[in-house]
């Protein structure tokens, strides 16, 4: 069962092609990774899928509906949410409030009730707070719930963004380099978290550099290089694909060619 289908998606910026024409599908409840060296076009692809950029060509189909070019808030209402590589946490709110903010869609907009402090507002606050606590427990941030978001560690901020994105009750979660800048321990925690998320039935599409993380948890991998998709398949297959090995051999990414094959097995 496909939750997301990307067909011939491409983006040009002026005379520069950032992504040529990429196609793939994401299965419900599965973990799909998009990997590739720097500059391959992964982030642009992500931004097109999540409505930040309007694609130059191609289609994005979410749950059978064509959502190409729709604004992010509409996509969120349809069950897609995401995190950001260069974290966009809400600094002026607490950790708990950040996650509660993610409950916006469930809360709905009831301005008058909120302005006057009517019981409805208190109820929505309560429900959001409970759910936010639950999500913070899920990502392991429960202890710092009332601290200001800006006080969290880098790894903590990454997990906070995931909790916030989960608050929207997505059916598809886009993770933009969730392990970037994390050490080995943090990366292990993140990948364990992602697996747990996928187990709850949420489909995960992630963009990543870190081969270990990707190979370990993904059911399916898409490899991009030089604005194109060059390979696709289960991790083992992709790791042994000569085109992928060459891409990593020649690109100077953090894993060497041999390393790709070795780590996938190890």
């Amino acid at each position: 069962m496909t939750i997301l289908e990307v067909a011939g998606l491409g983006m040009d910026f002026g005379g520069l092609t950032a992504v040529e024409a990429v196609s793939f599908s994401v299965r419900r409840g599965g973990i799909m990774s998009v990997i590739g060296p720097n500059g391959a076009g992964k982030t642009t692809l992500f931004n097109m899928v999540s409505g930040i950029y309007r694609p130059t060509r191609g289609r994005v189909v979410l749950d059978g509906r064509d959502v190409t070019g729709l604004a992010p808030h509409k996509l969120a209402a349809m069950g897609m949410s995401r995190t950001f590589q260069n974290l966009k946490v809400f600094q002026q709110m607490s950790v708990l409030q950040n996650v509660m903010a993610g409950r916006h869609l469930s809360e709905g907009v009831h301005v008058v009730s909120d302005l006057l402090g009517l019981p409805g507002a208190a109820r929505r606050n309560r429900e959001s707070e409970e759910e936010a606590h639950r999500l913070l427990r899920l990502v392991g941030l429960e202890r710092g719930a009332f601290r200001e978001a800006s006080e969290l560690s880098y790894g903590g901020l990454k997990r906070l963004e995931i909790a916030r994105a989960l608050a929207t009750q997505p059916r598809l979660l886009l993770l933009d380099e969730p392990a970037a800048g994390c050490n080995a321990v943090e990366t292990g925690e993140i990948d364990e978290l992602i697996s747990r998320i996928a187990e709850t039935g949420v489909a995960v599409l992630l963009v990543e550099h870190d081969m270990k993380l990707v190979m370990k948890i993904s059911a399916h991998v898409v490899v991009m290089e030089q604005v194109r998709k060059i390979s696709e398949g289960p991790p083992q297959e992709v790791a042994n694909d000569p085109r992928v090995i060459e891409a990593y051999l020649g690109s100077g990414a953090e894993t060497g060619a041999k390393g790709v094959g070795e780590r996938a097995q190890g």
Binding site: F13, G14, T43, N47, I52, Y53, F84
Partner: protein, 290 residues
């Protein structure tokens, strides 16, 4: 026809001043990403300082030179004391800072000088020159000529000198400029100094025509800004065209529609540009990295 010509001359004259203000805006914006709301005050200071220096006994030329120099120093001080310390501040914070600076400068002029309206003699007299049924004041020619001279000088600066190319490089891509060894801090100081000098010059040229007082800066800034975004917030050429167009539209509006609301023209131009063609006439769409 002669009426139209009159409005045309008037429009080109004020438009030249707006072009200079617009030029100041884009120089600073391109070098530092800051919209300097105090730009109009540089024009005001040019006129006011010249008047008071001349009033105190200095010959006109010396007073004017002093005014340009003093405004230049104030421009650099603005950068050093108000903008640079606020590095990393949000856009809204920077906006409040430059607005604060503009009001501060206006208040400074109010206190150091006075609240009166002032004027000093035109460069080559006030005898109007008849052209095609309309008349031009000699000062208008000085204004237009002066503005063009500034633009040509700036063009040569950017195209022919190393310092100019460094400024362009910084404007284009600050990180890359730093990587090739360009002192971007100096570039920003330079752009503030240039903008201040250009603004002051505009003020000196236009005062014999429109007079000056401590509070002329705000509307000038608004109109110059209109010219800048009409031109695309990018090249000096855009600023020149944008400023002239704003001046022309304003003069035509004042002449044919209503002179009471002519100051509203700039605001309407701004809105139209922002909604209909956000990149102005010559601007390019900026890439936003997410």
């Amino acid at each position: 026809m002669s009426e139209f010509l009159q409005f045309l001359f008037s429009g080109i004259t004020v438009g030249s001043v707006y072009a200079l203000v617009a030029l100041g805006f884009i120089l600073i914006f391109n070098a530092s990403g800051v919209v300097n709301f105090a730009q109009g005050e540089f024009v005001m200071l040019g006129g006011m300082i010249t008047f008071f220096a001349h009033d105190a006994g200095l010959p006109m030329a010396a007073a004017a030179a002093l005014a340009v120099l003093a405004t230049c120093i104030i421009g650099v001080a603005l950068y050093k004391f108000a903008i640079e310390p606020a590095r990393g501040a949000s856009v809204v914070a920077l906006i409040i800072i430059t607005i604060g600076a503009s009001i501060f400068l206006r208040g400074l002029a109010q206190v150091v000088f006075d609240k009166q309206i002032h004027r000093f003699p035109a460069i080559s007299g006030d005898a109007p020159i008849a052209v095609g049924g309309a008349s031009i004041l000699p000062q208008s020619l000085w204004i237009v000529g002066g503005a063009l001279a500034v633009f040509v000088a700036l063009y040569l600066f950017f195209a022919r000198t190393l310092a100019g190319k460094a400024v362009l490089a910084t404007a284009n891509n600050r990180l890359a400029a730093q990587l090739v060894g360009i002192g971007t801090n100096n570039m920003m100081t330079l752009s503030f100094a240039l903008s201040a000098a250009i603004g002051a010059l505009g003020g000196i040229l236009v005062t014999p025509l429109t007079m000056t007082s401590y509070d002329v800066g705000l509307t000038l800034a608004l109109k110059g800004f209109a010219g800048a975004i009409l031109g695309g917030m990018g090249s000096p050429f855009g600023a020149l065209v944008g400023g002239l167009l704003v001046g022309l539209i304003e003069a035509m509006t004042a002449g044919y529609i209503s002179s009471e609301y002519k100051d509203a023209v700039a605001f309407i131009v701004i809105l139209l540009v922002l909604f209909v063609m956000p990149n102005g006439l010559f601007g390019r769409s900026p890439l936003e990295r997410v």
